[in-house]
């Protein structure tokens, strides 16, 4: 079991690194899907199978499809990947890499190791999540629905003007 977890974790990190280094956008999307699937496997191992399902359905499914559609509409070609190559010279990696490494190191330093694992506890089921979601956090659900609605409206508005301008 632990080996499987290590495998999934390493796939996640390698996939993420591949995402940020690709020159062709579609490749990056595919690597991102792999990353998300591995992350879903990790979520299952954490006992959150409901969250894992949602991660696969919504993230790896819906959001990635959105990316794929947009990349198709952008109509990228050979010149674009050449330009990406031009932008991604080794020197460009230096500053961001150092900054991110500092943040990573500081975060890891901050997190004091937690004491060992608890005795066996039943995993959190979708039932518990639902009760919590529509009990104490029902206002949050409302706010999120507002957020989704406003996102929908703004995406629609931006896209509609674009169509008219064409």
């Amino acid at each position: 079991m632990h080996a499987l977890a290590l495998l999934a974790a390493s796939v996640t990190i390698i996939g993420a690194i591949m995402v940020i280094t690709r020159k062709v956008a579609v490749h990056a999307v595919l690597y991102l899907v792999v990353t998300l699937l591995a992350l879903a496997a990790l979520l299952v191992m954490l006992g959150a199978s409901f969250a894992a399902m949602l991660e696969i359905i919504i993230y790896a499914g819906a959001i990635m499809v959105l990316f794929v559609f947009v990349i198709m509409m952008l109509n990228l070609g050979q010149s674009d990947s050449a330009r990406e190559k031009e932008w991604l010279r080794p020197r460009a990696w230096l500053g961001p890499g150092i900054l991110a490494a500092i943040v990573c190191a500081e975060l890891l330093y901050c997190i004091s190791p937690f004491s060992g694992s608890l005795p066996t506890i039943p995993p959190i089921t979708a039932h518990d999540v639902g009760l919590s979601l529509f009990g104490r956090y029902v206002l949050m659900v409302e706010l999120v629905s507002f957020l989704l609605l406003s996102g929908l409206i703004s995406a629609f508005h931006i896209g509609r003007n674009w169509m008219e301008d064409r």
Partner: protein, 103 residues
């Protein structure tokens, strides 16, 4: 006992977050910046789920759902903006060209 200890979860999430951060800072193409942002959001969500499992609280997964919704909205609006920019004469999607004000 969960198959994946909490310490390892936090470690993984930190590394994943840093990788996403590097992506946001390095890439000039806005599509890649959006993908890197998604990686960062996933790292944050992973910490929530891990903490929920560690302390056996459903709130972790509730937060995961909220982050999922946030990511969906962010991606949708971001991609709409990208399409708009692409259509209006900025086909390279270079994030550095949006500095008309010049500070």
């Amino acid at each position: 006992m969960p198959a994946f200890p909490f310490n390892d979860t936090v470690l993984l999430a930190t590394v994943l977050f840093s990788v996403g951060l590097t992506g946001v800072l390095v890439r000039r193409n806005m599509v890649f910046m959006l993908m890197s942002l998604d990686i960062m959001l996933n790292a944050a969500a992973l910490v929530f789920v891990g903490a929920g499992a560690r302390w056996h609280d459903a709130v972790g997964q509730v937060m995961f759902l909220l982050i999922l919704a946030l990511a969906a909205v962010e991606t949708a609006v971001g991609l709409a903006i990208i399409l708009r920019l692409h259509a209006q004469g900025r086909p390279t999607l270079d994030a550095d060209t949006g500095n008309l004000l010049q500070g």
